[in-house]
């Protein structure tokens, strides 16, 4: 047992060393045009808009509320479909009503958390997927010129995943009676935030 723990500890230390070795990617990668800012700007993009943050945290919260397998299925579906939307945005494929859909996502996901909605997994995945397309498309069309595609994408996906992880972390409060009420309250706040962004999107004000 001690041998096993020592081996596991050594493996973890090795992984930490590997991570530290990888970390300077942000600063010392091949110095092609704009690459050094790629990771930072990609990481910053999903956390730069409150409408995106609300929706992504709500996905994690809803997944945690639904329990296994949704707790990991929804946060897996969202980044992949969002990346698909981002790809469409990058390729110049136009989609109508993106801002409305983003605002609606916070309303719908917040409401789902508030109501403790329990649809079938495939229905929840479709709901999350549709909204993910809108979020991804918005990000894809806003990507800055000159940044590194790969590093930008890595930063972007990691930030999105961390927002979901934050949502899951908050959503785990669902296990306790008081936490369950607090989670529903958090869902209501997300939905109200979504209503605010929806109103701004309908009135044509910049979000």
């Amino acid at each position: 047992m001690r041998q096993f723990l020592q081996n596991a500890g050594a493996a973890r230390r090795s992984l930490v060393m590997l991570f530290l070795f990888l970390y300077p990617l942000t600063a010392f990668a091949h110095q092609r045009g704009g690459e050094a800012i790629g990771f930072a700007s990609g990481f910053e993009h999903p956390i730069s808009g409150l409408d995106h943050i609300l929706a992504m945290v709500a996905v994690g919260m809803w997944g945690a509320q639904l329990g296994a397998p949704a707790i990991w299925a929804l946060p897996v579906v969202f980044p992949m479909v969002m990346a698909l939307g981002g790809m469409m945005g990058l390729m110049g494929i136009k989609l109508p009503g993106i801002e409305l859909c983003i605002a609606l996502s916070a309303v719908a996901l917040g409401f789902a958390v508030f109501r403790e909605a329990r649809p079938k997994l495939w229905i929840a995945a479709i709901i999350v997927g549709v909204f993910a397309i809108a979020h991804g498309h918005a990000h894809g069309t806003e990507l800055p010129l000159g940044a590194s595609g790969v590093l930008y994408s890595i930063g972007f996906v990691i930030a999105t995943g961390l927002l979901h992880a934050l949502g899951i972390g908050i959503g785990l409060a669902h296990r306790w009676p008081t936490g369950r009420i607090a989670l529903r309250f958090a869902g209501a706040i997300v939905a109200m935030g979504g209503v605010f962004f929806l109103w701004k999107a309908i009135s044509g004000e910049p979000v």
């Binding site: 596991a8 493996a11 090795s14 992984l15 590997l18 070795f21 990888l22 300077p24 990617l25 010392f28 990668a29 091949h30 990991w72 946060p75 897996v76 980044p79 992949m80 969002m82 990346a83 698909l84 981002g86 790809m87 469409m88 945005g89 990058l90 390729m91 110049g92 894809g140 990507l143 010129l145 595609g149 790969v150 590093l151 930008y152 994408s153 890595i154 972007f156 996906v157 990691i158 999105t160 995943g161």
Partner: protein
């Protein structure tokens, strides 16, 4: 990559500062690790050898070539296989390692200096780096017993797919 320590260390470092090469390697190593130690050992030896062979081909034959779309599609495919925890047989996993090694190795090799032995030494450095990365990641994934940790490894696969899709969009980007 120029570390200032010579071609071997340039090659060794190359993998860690080239996410286009590193991402599919991470996906394949984790996929092999999830399938078990035998699969991990197969990739551990097949991938560096195939990469070296591909580098030799690139060094000897090819002019400088870049295939961003093909590289990205391979990355997406490996990430997707990891995300769904695809129960591939050992021959298929080994075959994927050989294909990945030959593709990326030949593309790497075509960019290496051809004037003296530094290209070969650099390619050896890349192969050593691959050995280290695969042994660490496949070993760690093979030791995963808790179901949630296994899910976390699969989530890493979905992230690789997402990164790959964005890279693909980037490769086919429409300016404006």
């Amino acid at each position: 990559m120029n570390t200032g320590f010579g071609p071997f260390y340039d090659g060794l470092t190359h993998l860690f500062v080239t996410p286009e090469d590193l991402l599919p390697v991470i996906a394949l190593a984790l996929l092999a690790g999830l399938r078990g130690p035998r699969f991990g050992r197969a990739v551990l030896f097949a991938l560096p050898v195939a990469w070296l062979a591909g580098s030799a081909v690139g060094l000897l034959l090819a002019p400088q070539v870049t295939l961003p779309v093909a590289e990205t599609i391979v990355t997406i495919a490996l990430g997707a296989l990891l995300a769904v925890d695809c129960p591939l047989p050992i021959a298929a996993v080994g075959g994927l390692a050989i294909l990945l090694g030959l593709l990326h190795g030949s593309l790497n090799g075509s960019e290496l200096p051809k004037t003296n032995a530094s290209g070969q030494i650099s390619a050896t450095g890349v192969a050593v780096a691959l050995f280290v990365v695969v042994s660490l990641l496949a070993g760690q994934a093979a030791s995963v017993r808790v179901p949630r940790a296994r899910v976390a490894v699969r989530v890493a696969g979905s992230w690789i797919v997402a990164i790959g899709l964005l890279m693909l969009g980037w490769a086919m980007r429409v300016p404006g």
